[in-house]
């Protein structure tokens, strides 16, 4: 009975967040707490000799730790188990994957500017910073490899000598027969596409506080993370202590976007320091550290060949791409495989060959960022659609339409594997309908007409379309324990760690519907490894699908158990009972009832329990949801823009998103996810780029250099929901976290290219900065003047 699922239930988190009652790691203070400043490399590649003796003499300094102190005590970080490819996929595509462990503090040499070398632990951050300035690091610079194309050359010296090469991972996937497709097609074209390095910039930077309890010899670590369980298992493994002795808590987390979806050396180092010193130890990343050292993302270059017929039908696509992974690649091929799996999106492209390589360079290590390899794929595919349409003199909509998968072809098999090792088969959707819904909201025909009319007046209007498919709700699992306490309150304990996704609201809506109560009678507890034995985390648009389904099924199990207890006590068959408004009652005799509190009392352990003998004591049920495969969300973005010839700004006249995330749990929350995702995507499209110089030095270390859109630049997105239920979970939900961020770079690049189609401008690289727009407009003006002069003659 869906009373709350699907409603705009007001976010439970907001009262706390808006009234200052929230608690982030930086807010926490423990008695006797020490603070840390890291000494970070100022060179991108150098041998180092570290001397902390002067720093240790500074007032208030408790310890200066370097790699020497960690040797033999704290192991290096290896790629996370959770991001390894499943064996059946490895056996199918035979990827190359070289081990590339990451030292917690640099040992003998540094491989990127910003790498932690030493940690100074002092009474407070001020003293720690002062002492960090006294740590002497002698650098002997080594040649820097900042360009992945140079780094991957066979003769290039390996940055990690044990690897023997800088190509850390490579993979190749082929579907159909590309050569034949190429041979049969009417037309062929080649292009190069560049999606630069960006950084997620959550409002809250990283932060870690670790507390060692001498009595139980155990650690509690509060960290701003998306993956508490992965942090726990790595702390236990690297410090060589039982997992039972480590509790990891993510309190309120101010955004992660993938950047906090991994385990960082600092988390291990702080945990170690707290244990070693027997004192609480805290580190809060400052924004400069964040820009330099927090893992970054994207950074792909694609060389593509596409073969198509005169009607726009694509017969074959061949792509070779290089990912600049930076100095370490903890997520292995997660992002590049996402690029591979999502490249063809909503389109039927029978012959497809794609090869990708992750190259190690002397730059900040890489990680996933909202979309995780998908925005890159969509950028390539949707630029191609537009380039093909221009080549053939067709409207891009026509080219999209001849290639779109039709609704009657669902479930559609793309003939390859997804990253979870299951077959890549789209579960549901009507892509032509989604496209047309978006075009309608964008008033496509009206703006096409306006574009023609205004162009003769020297105004450049462009329309850009982008579509995407997104595998969401990836496994391996997520769990929920649902319990009714002695006062009748329902508590849902989950392993998925929220950082802005509204878990407390949407999961309590799901739970409330199963029990027939108000969401206020449900407390959702998350972000703490002590709540339940297993958990994965919140990333890859997986929360609603995995944690949502776990909560739903666990609630159903518990409901059933409660009905049996009530049936036993009331001596009324279960079929004649109903659960509603916090009690179970006989349908025929509503007076005969038990409240949740009564049921909780009846279920308590003890002699002569008032529950069926075969039931375990307690009002509790657990479910681990294991998705059969991912669910495929999808959507279409349409951007209508006007180029400002004076400022080079791209004025967004209309930005439309029609999105299918299956059953919508809370429309307000989904709208927020889309709006926020679009904001980040527009940043990537128009402003954001992490730039390193040839020496691997970061040149964009401040918000003056790394420009992000503000409320001024982000329009209110016009949204439409199309609901095609997933067939892979009972509620029919699909993920929505990343969709908003996937398409804007492609939509904006298409719109700008479209505005300037008369001079053949192709925007095959983002960001389309104001400087570029100004150049384009000048070229276009010159061309238009010339054409007018010729016309006059």
């Amino acid at each position: 009975m869906a009373t709350y699922v699907g409603s705009n239930y007001r976010r439970k988190e907001d009262y706390r967040l808006l009234t200052g009652k929230s608690e982030f790691v930086a807010d926490m203070k423990l008695h006797g707490m020490l603070e840390v400043a890291f000494v970070r490399s100022m060179h991108a590649h150098a041998e180092i000799a570290v001397d902390g003796t002067e720093a240790l003499k500074m007032p208030g300094v408790h310890a200066v730790l370097t790699a020497r102190d960690l040797a033999g005590v704290v192991g290096p970080l290896n790629p996370l188990e959770e991001f390894r490819l499943p064996q059946d996929l490895i056996d199918t595509i035979h990827p190359v994957l070289l081990p590339c462990p990451e030292d917690i503090l640099a040992v003998d040499k540094v491989v990127y500017a910003g790498q932690p070398i030493a940690m100074v632990i002092a009474e407070n951050r001020y003293l720690a910073e002062d002492a960090a300035a006294r740590v002497l690091v002698k650098y002997t610079p080594l040649p820097v490899l900042a360009d992945p194309f140079r780094a991957r050359e066979p003769g290039a010296p390996p940055i990690h000598p044990a690897m023997g090469s800088n190509v850390q991972a490579s993979l190749h996937v082929e579907v159909g027969d590309v050569e034949r497709g190429m041979a049969e097609a009417d037309c062929l074209l080649k292009r190069r596409f560049v999606v630069p390095r960006v950084t997620a910039n959550p409002l809250e930077t990283r932060g870690v506080l670790a507390d060692y309890d001498r009595r139980s010899d155990s650690l509690t670590v509060w960290t701003s993370t998306q993956v508490t369980f992965m942090v726990r298992s790595n702390i236990a493994k690297l410090l060589d202590i039982p997992e039972e002795k480590v509790r990891v808590v993510a309190p309120d987390v101010g955004g992660g976007f993938g950047t906090k979806g991994g385990v960082y050396p600092e988390e291990i180092a702080i945990a170690y320091a707290a244990r070693r010193l027997g004192r609480p130890v805290k580190w809060i990343e400052d924004r400069m550290e964040h820009m330099q050292s927090c893992r970054q993302s994207r950074d792909q270059v694609h060389e593509v060949e596409v073969a198509f017929n005169r009607d726009g039908r694509i017969l074959a696509l061949k792509d070779e791409f290089v990912v600049d992974s930076g100095a370490y690649n903890p997520l292995l091929v997660t992002c590049p495989y996402n690029t591979v799996a999502h490249m063809r999106g909503m389109f039927k492209i029978p012959n497809f060959a794609i090869a990708g390589a992750c190259v190690i360079t002397n730059k900040t290590p890489s990680i996933a960022y909202r979309g995780a390899g998908r925005p890159e794929a969509v950028f390539v595919m949707d630029r191609l659609i537009q380039i093909i349409s221009r080549e053939l003199g067709l409207d891009p909509v026509e080219v999209m339409e001849v290639n779109l998968i039709r609704p009657e072809e669902m479930p559609y098999d793309q003939g390859m594997y997804y990253r979870d090792g299951t077959k890549l088969v789209y579960d549901s959707g009507d892509y032509p309908a989604t496209l047309h819904h978006a075009l309608e909201l964008a008033e496509y025909d009206r703006y096409r007409a306006l574009q023609r009319e205004r162009r003769s007046e020297g105004e450049y209007i462009g329309i850009g379309i982008s579509s995407y498919i997104e595998g969401t709700g990836i496994g391996p699992f997520e769990g929920a324990v649902i319990r009714v306490d002695a006062t009748g309150q329902i508590v849902a304990y989950i392993g998925s760690t929220p950082h802005g996704q509204s878990h407390e609201t949407t999961l309590s809506q799901i739970c409330a519907d199963e029990f027939g109560v108000s969401p206020e009678q449900v407390t959702v507890r998350a972000g703490d490894t002590s709540l339940l034995p297993y958990g994965v985390g919140t990333f890859a648009s997986r929360g609603a699908v995995t944690a949502g389904s776990a909560v739903q099924v666990a609630s159903q199990k518990l409901r059933e158990k409660m009905m049996r207890i009530a049936s036993h006590t009331l001596e009324i068959p279960v079929e004649d009972l109903e659960m509603r408004d916090g009690k179970v009652f006989a349908r025929q005799m509503p007076g005969r009832s038990m409240s949740f509190r009564d049921i909780a009392r009846a279920a308590r352990p003890g002699p002569n329990p008032a529950r069926p003998a075969d039931l375990e004591p307690g009002v509790e049920a657990t479910h681990y949801f294991v998705p059969p495969s991912v669910t495929y969300s999808g959507g279409v973005h349409v951007a209508v823009v006007r180029l400002d010839k004076d400022t080079g700004q791209i004025d967004i006249i209309r930005y439309v998103v029609v999105h299918d995330c299956g059953r919508v749990l809370n429309p307000m929350v989904v709208d927020g996810q889309i709006q926020g995702g679009v904001a980040q995507g527009l940043g990537e499209a128009m402003y954001e780029q992490i730039v390193h110089d040839e020496q691997g030095q970061l040149l964009t270390g401040t918000y003056m250099d790394y420009l992000q859109p503000t409320a001024m630049e982000v329009p209110d997105v016009i949204q439409g929901h199309s609901t095609f239920l997933s067939t892979r979970n009972a509620m029919g939900v699909k993920g929505v976290g990343e969709g908003g961020a996937i398409s804007p770079p492609a939509a904006i690049a298409n719109a700008v290219s479209d505005a300037l189609s008369m001079i053949g401008i192709e925007v095959n690289e983002v960001p389309v900065t104001p400087v570029k727009v100004l150049q384009y407009c000048r070229e276009a003006d010159a061309r238009m003047r010339l054409a007018a002069a010729e016309g006059a003659r």
Partner: protein, 148 residues
């Protein structure tokens, strides 16, 4: 980073040449110079206190002057590092006599790293030119004082 510039002096080449090789004058003229002492290897150990944008701090390092053609062409190399990062500079300086005195043409390549690159990079070129201007102005001022 590549920078270059020219500066006019009202003194003859020989005077400017010796001033630019005079540790006393250099110490007083180098912006932010806290100390400058000759070390055994023919170069000077220096301590500088400088700010670029929001990044202020102390740099320790070395400065050396190497003559290519006496009285007209020398190379100045400097490197220093500190909490804000590191700087490595090679400056090619040529002196030509003019009617009013002489002209110094300098061509400089600089590597910067660490926080000053990331945070100050945007303004670094401007700041470097400003500092160079200050330096040459100070040299003239020092000369005037010596003469007075």
């Amino acid at each position: 980073m590549q920078l270059n510039g020219q500066v006019q002096f009202r003194h003859p080449t020989a005077v400017i040449w010796s001033a630019l090789h005079d540790p006393e004058i250099l110490r007083a003229a180098i912006p932010g110079c806290e100390s400058m002492t000759l070390n055994g290897e023919g170069s000077y150990d220096v301590v500088l206190r400088l700010g670029v944008a929001a990044i202020k701090g102390e740099y320790t390092g070395h400065v050396a002057v190497e003559d290519v053609v006496p009285q007209s062409h020398y190379l100045l190399t400097a490197e220093g590092s500190g909490t804000p990062g590191f700087v490595k500079v090679q400056m090619d300086c040529k002196l030509d006599p003019t009617e009013a005195g002489c002209r110094l043409t300098w061509d400089c390549s600089a590597d910067v790293g660490g926080m000053i690159a990331g945070v100050g990079g945007r303004v670094l070129g401007g700041v470097a030119k400003l500092l160079a201007g200050q330096f040459f102005k100070q040299v003239e001022k020092q000369l005037a004082q010596v003469r007075a």
